[in-house]
């Protein structure tokens, strides 16, 4: 047993300081391949670093909106459907929140719109849109909400740069800590 006592020390010497904090304690699990990582890494964050190469425009998106069945649920202009509206009924209201719960208008990042379409649309045919089609549909929805001009192509570089109308005018979440109340000062 005596030699075991030396093991942690020897380990630290070998692995350097980061191993002191967090070395693999169990050695279970395998390293995912680069292909596996790339295939699964579909959550698009605000920087857009996970966006795949590709591009699209509002003009192409307008066509896809009809041919891919978007209009059937969301309405011909994004207003008349049974699914959530994609265009504001009150687009000039200076209060962006008052313009309605419209994804391509209220989302703080254009990446949120891309991610939403890519993972969630079309309903029950998720995963059937190509990367270029997702860029095109995102461009179309941003265009009909006056967020980008009709001729602006969206791609890996330009999409995360789009300035959304809501800016930073939304509530960020509290810095959650264990064993604290759900809201400081809130008695309930």
């Amino acid at each position: 047993m005596g030699s075991h006592r030396m093991l942690p020390f020897a380990f630290v010497m070998l692995m350097g300081t980061s191993a002191l904090a967090q070395g693999p304690a169990f050695g279970i699990g395998r390293t995912p391949s680069p292909e596996e990582l790339k295939a699964r890494d579909i959550s698009i964050g605000p920087t857009g670093e996970e966006l795949p190469p590709g591009k699209g425009t509002a003009k192409e998106g307008a066509q896809l909106y009809r041919t891919k069945g978007c209009a059937a649920c969301h309405g011909a202009t994004g207003l008349e459907g049974t699914a959530p509206n994609l265009k504001s009924k009150d687009p000039k209201n200076p209060d962006v929140w008052a313009r309605g719960r419209i994804l391509p208008l209220r989302a703080p990042f254009a990446t949120t719109v891309w991610d939403y379409i890519n993972r969630g649309m079309p309903l029950n045919r998720e995963g059937t849109l190509t990367v270029d089609e997702v860029y095109s549909l995102t461009a179309f929805l941003l265009f009909i909400n006056d967020v980008i001009p009709e001729d602006q192509a969206l791609d890996q570089q330009s999409l995360p740069q789009v300035k959304m109308p809501i800016g930073d005018n939304y509530a960020s979440l509290p810095d959650w800590k264990p064993r604290t109340k759900r809201l400081p000062g809130y008695p309930f």
């Binding site: 967090q22 169990f26 699990g29 995912p32 596996e36 959550s43 964050g45 979440l173 309930f188």
Partner: protein, 423 residues
């Protein structure tokens, strides 16, 4: 199942199957067990259960007399004509103790979902992002890690009583409590090695939409759990088979089902489920996370009928996202006087606590209510208290911000009929 009269020998043989086949404390005739073939006891008067092999031996069925079932919630059919399931509520009015049987556990899907039929031998779970070593685990891998077993409730953010709710199933049935077994997320994150810039994580399931939620890394390191076990057997498909993320005390949507990936990131990712939580009011946004203290009386509750005045044990459930329940009080006079209720068992953190209160009903019209306080000192409010806090008029237009944890009144008429006090 059929029935026929049996002789004593057959009866003795079938009693063993009965003991295994009946659960839930159903109204099972206590037959045969202590009788010897030459006893002089009168033969039992009930017919005997003669089920098939599957129901009696392989996987036991409950009694034919027990009819408690889940119902579609919120007026949406489930499954719908396409086979999508939406929200399904648990029959709290029939519950005893604190465990919801897996077959009766509530479930919800973000916007309607088909049920993924996942082969566990092919399922993998991946951790990557801001870690030193991205890792992929098979289900067998995950079961090699040290496990934990904990009672935890889950509650849907839409679990909101309304005047339309006739029963406690309709008003409160989008919550359940089960015993979950699995590996702590902190164990796996330590195995992968968190980088110093890690602040949030995104969890993703295996349904069509792969609903993704951003959650604080502090929660991951505190008590999140990757559950493969539920009430002593594998997690049920409707609850995420083969792997479900438990985020104890947070709204139900965070408890990612069919879990296949966690990405550790440096910021809030504002993905699919996050957009649903987007709010302009910081206080409301904060309340859409950790669930407040909440309780409800399950007996007597809406649509039940008291046979007459006399003794009743009022029974109910209390829970909180803030930890263990510290105190439950019951009022039998519409909220004028509050009496301390008795705990049935030891309250666990982020789990149902069953309470009881002994009551002699004098037969006059009244209203019964329960309220609770958790270990953080958070107290369950009435809707009137909430309206006052939020400086809004208390009328039918008032909507509780965040998950509704307000006190539920049950009205008892002099004929013993119980109805929703909000109606």
């Amino acid at each position: 199942m059929g029935s026929k009269s049996l002789n004593r020998r057959e009866l003795l043989k079938s009693s063993a199957a009965l003991a295994g086949g009946l659960t839930l404390g159903a109204a099972a005739p206590a037959i045969g067990a202590q009788q010897s073939p030459d006893s002089h006891h009168a033969p039992p008067s009930s017919p005997m259960i003669k089920g098939d092999k599957d129901g009696m031996i392989a996987y036991g069925e409950r009694s034919n007399y027990v009819k408690s079932v889940r119902i579609p919630h919120g007026g949406r059919p489930s499954p719908d004509t396409f086979g999508l399931t939406f929200h399904v509520a648990t029959p709290l009015q029939d519950s005893v103790g604190v465990i919801t049987p897996s077959s009766l556990h509530y479930f919800a899907t973000t916007r309607g979902s088909f049920l993924p039929d996942i082969d566990p031998s092919k399922h993998t779970f991946m951790i990557h992002g801001l870690v030193d070593r991205p890792l992929t685990f098979t289900m067998d891998d995950l079961k090699r890690f040290p496990s934990v077993t904990r009672l935890h409730f889950i509650e849907c953010a839409g679990n909101r009583s309304s005047p339309r709710a006739k029963t406690v199933q309709e008003s409160h049935g989008m919550t359940s409590c089960a015993e979950w077994t699995g590996v702590l997320l902190s164990t796996l994150l330590k195995e992968a090695g968190l980088k110093g810039t890690a602040k949030w994580f995104v969890a993703e399931g295996g349904e069509e939409v792969k609903g993704a939620s951003s959650m604080p890394i502090a929660k991951a390191m505190d008590d999140c759990l990757l559950a493969y076990g539920m009430n002593g057997e594998p997690v049920r498909p409707q609850n995420g088979f083969p792997l479900r993320l438990m985020v104890p005390g947070f709204e139900g949507i965070f408890h990612t089902k069919w879990l296949q990936r966690i990405k550790v990131v440096d910021r809030y990712y504002m993905n699919y489920n996050d957009f649903g939580h987007l709010d302009d009011e910081p206080k409301t946004a904060a309340l859409g996370y950790q669930i407040g203290p909440k309780s409800v009386i399950t007996f007597p509750s809406g649509a039940q009928q008291l046979p007459g005045k006399g003794f009743y044990e009022i029974s109910g459930l209390a829970w909180s996202g803030g930890g263990a329940i510290k105190l439950v009080e019951v009022s039998t006079d519409g909220g004028k006087k509050w009496n301390k209720a008795e705990f049935k068992g030891t309250p666990q953190r982020m789990a149902f606590t069953r309470f009881g209160y002994q009551w002699n009903w004098d037969g006059s019209e009244t209203e019964i209510l329960s309220r609770c306080t958790d270990e953080l000192g958070q107290a369950q409010p009435t809707r009137a208290q909430l309206a006052k806090y939020w400086n809004k008029p208390y009328d039918q237009t008032f909507s509780v911000p965040g998950l509704d944890n307000s006190v539920q009144p049950w009205h008892i008429a002099s004929d013993g009929r119980v109805t929703n006090g909000f109606a």
